[in-house]
């Protein structure tokens, strides 16, 4: 996949420092086989959830771990993507027009890019305002925008309000039926792989470096002649767009969306996944998302008081693994190689 015209990004060099992601992706690819072997098709659904959350966590980490922007509106952006697909499908199913203007569609080849763009638009618009703040103020202003999006969708009675909206249309991607469980799972894993690769390159590009520099010392960036706002805005929009895409996948996979997908608690969960997994690596959040989803799914079946062990696991990880789960693998960026993403040192 490496870009031949540009020999200076070496995929093999990057992978030398990031090999565990290959194992993780390979393991993810084997899930359907394992599920079939153990006659437990639920595993595929569970991992579909983990993979979609991973995409969000990776996208969030781009602004969080590299841009220092703790966003609590990623669940809102996710919801924008999800509702875009669901509302278009709704109008297609009901054969009505959106705002009386244009017809809906059950073709994901149209609605997914739209979800991507809508989320990007919302991220960009809110970013113009929120990115003027920083630190905790940024956390809170994104929380505010998230709540506005949340109540916006709650207020849309036509689309089910608080009860949410079922996707009754048969979704398809152009001429392909991708909503079959295993196919859909591989699609999601494919999107995750592409997301990781794209962000891995982004963070090492000139653009990515400016973003990282801005998070360390914005004043100096300005003095160097770089206007930071537009870089942060671009990063936020990209992150939001990918999150919206994940939301679109979610709506197609679940065939159901509801405002609770936009709740700030879920936004907090994404942050937890990213930090838990490790923000020092582009793919670290994948580990966090998988662990999070597995704990959430299996702990409750062991004990009614499942939040207690969950909480203890989280606390222990933060206390003892400073770089998140990637720390277990000894892969926290060492100081002297901290700006190399492990590609070369």
């Amino acid at each position: 996949m490496a870009d031949q015209s540009n020999p200076s990004f070496s995929l093999s060099a990057w992978l030398r420092g990031n090999w565990p992601i290959l194992l993780v992706l390979a393991a993810l690819a084997l899930v359907p086989t394992f599920a079939a072997a153990t006659d437990n098709p639920f595993l595929i659904r569970l991992f579909t959830r983990a993979v979609i959350f991973s995409i969000v966590a990776v996208a969030l980490n781009f602004v969080l771990g590299y841009g220092g922007l703790v966003s609590l509106m990623h669940s809102g952006l996710f919801g924008v993507g999800a509702y875009t697909v669901a509302i278009l499908a709704f109008h297609d199913y009901e054969a009505t027009k959106f705002l009386g203007l244009f017809a809906g569609t059950d073709n994901l080849a149209i609605s997914m890019p739209l979800a991507f763009l809508c989320a990007m638009g919302v991220a960009a618009l809110t970013g113009i305002i929120s990115l003027r703040t920083s630190g905790t103020y940024f956390i809170m202003i994104t929380l505010a925008f998230n709540q506005m999006l949340y109540y916006f969708f709650v207020a849309l009675q036509q689309y089910g309000g608080e009860d949410g909206l079922q996707v009754l249309a048969n979704l398809h991607f152009a001429d392909f039926n991708i909503t079959k469980r295993t196919t859909f799972y591989y699609v999601a894993v494919g999107v995750l792989t592409a997301t990781i690769f794209v962000f891995a390159r982004l963070v090492q590009s000139r653009f990515g470096i400016i973003l990282r520099a801005t998070s360390q010392n914005e004043r100096r960036v300005v003095a160097l002649g770089i206007p930071p706002l537009r870089y942060k805005l671009m990063a936020f929009a990209i992150s939001g767009a990918v999150t919206g895409l994940a939301g679109a996948l979610w709506a197609s996979g679940q065939a159901f969306v509801s405002p609770s997908d936009l709740s700030w608690v879920r936004a907090g969960d994404y942050v937890v996944m990213a930090v838990l997994g490790g923000m020092g690596r582009v793919w670290g959040p994948v580990l966090g998302a998988i662990l999070f989803v597995l704990l959430e799914a299996y702990l409750p079946s062991w004990t009614q008081f499942w939040q207690l062990p969950f909480g203890i696991v989280v606390v222990l990880i933060v206390v003892y693994l400073r770089g998140g789960l990637v720390d277990v693998l000894g892969l926290t960026r060492s100081k002297s190689a901290s700006n190399t993403e492990g590609g070369h040192a």
Partner: protein, 248 residues
């Protein structure tokens, strides 16, 4: 010859304190202009207004013949103005080399490149290494900036300003925190740069000031009380009393 930088009737007040008081100043191309004055006289405040971080209350600043009073800081840097900070301002988690590369990148002005690996880009690292070498910090290129000693960080600060290849360097106490040896070397480096750059330097190290400056201006309580050749300033009684003391 027209001045590269000209400041006219600049005013800046902080609640109850006039930090810049009807100040006018010219810097000629290729000139090294030193700005001295007691602590709290308003030197850093002036630099911040020139660079655009602070907005003046009134007055104008023009650079290369163009009124930049309203321009944002990044525009001024793009026009060729570079500043080094009195209180070290670097990117603590990047290596020394990466710090300087970023300055090179800013100067080249292609921030929206999303795909190329910038860490391996010789177009960035080459000039960056050069700037580090000029300052004498090349042997520490791969050290993360927060692990550098105070003096080394000061050197890095300067290397970043140089890497921007500016036409006007605003240096706020570049010698502060540098050891004697390094300070002297810095003086040599700066005098080597003199031909290519116009420099406005704020410095309390009088050896450096008198070795470098073509002209010296003295700022007291926000007002310019004297401007002139180094020699005439050194012997000015008012300046001695307000600033230099007896030893110098």
């Amino acid at each position: 010859m027209t001045p590269i930088l000209s400041v006219n009737n600049l005013y800046k007040r902080f609640s109850g304190l006039v930090a810049t008081n009807d100040l006018s100043l010219n810097v000629m191309p290729g000139e090294t202009h030193a700005l001295i004055g007691p602590n709290g006289a308003g030197k850093t405040t002036l630099i911040a207004q020139l660079q655009g971080e602070l907005a003046p209350d009134s007055g104008t600043i023009s650079f290369k013949g163009r009124d930049i009073t309203q321009e944002p800081p990044h525009r001024r840097s793009q026009l060729g103005m570079a500043r080094s900070f009195q209180i070290t301002s670097i990117f603590p988690q990047f290596t020394a080399l990466a710090n300087v590369s970023l300055a090179v990148q800013a100067q080249q002005g292609h921030g929206f490149k999303f795909w190329r690996d910038a860490w391996r880009d010789p177009a960035l690292n080459g000039p960056a290494m050069e700037a580090l070498a000029t300052i004498g910090l090349d042997h520490r290129a791969q050290i993360v900036a927060e692990d550098l000693s105070h003096g080394e960080r000061r050197q890095l600060e300067l290397a970043m300003a140089l890497a921007m290849k500016p036409s006007l360097l605003l240096l706020d106490e570049p010698m502060a925190g540098m050891g004697r040896q390094d300070g002297q070397r810095m003086t040599r480096i700066l005098s080597g740069l003199k031909k290519d750059y116009a420099i406005l330097i704020v410095e309390h190290d009088m050896d450096a000031v008198f070795a470098l400056a073509d002209r010296v201006s003295v700022l007291v309580a926000g007002s310019m009380i004297a401007t002139g050749e180094p020699q005439s300033i050194r012997t000015d009684a008012a300046v001695k009393a307000a600033y230099l003391g007896h030893r110098s």
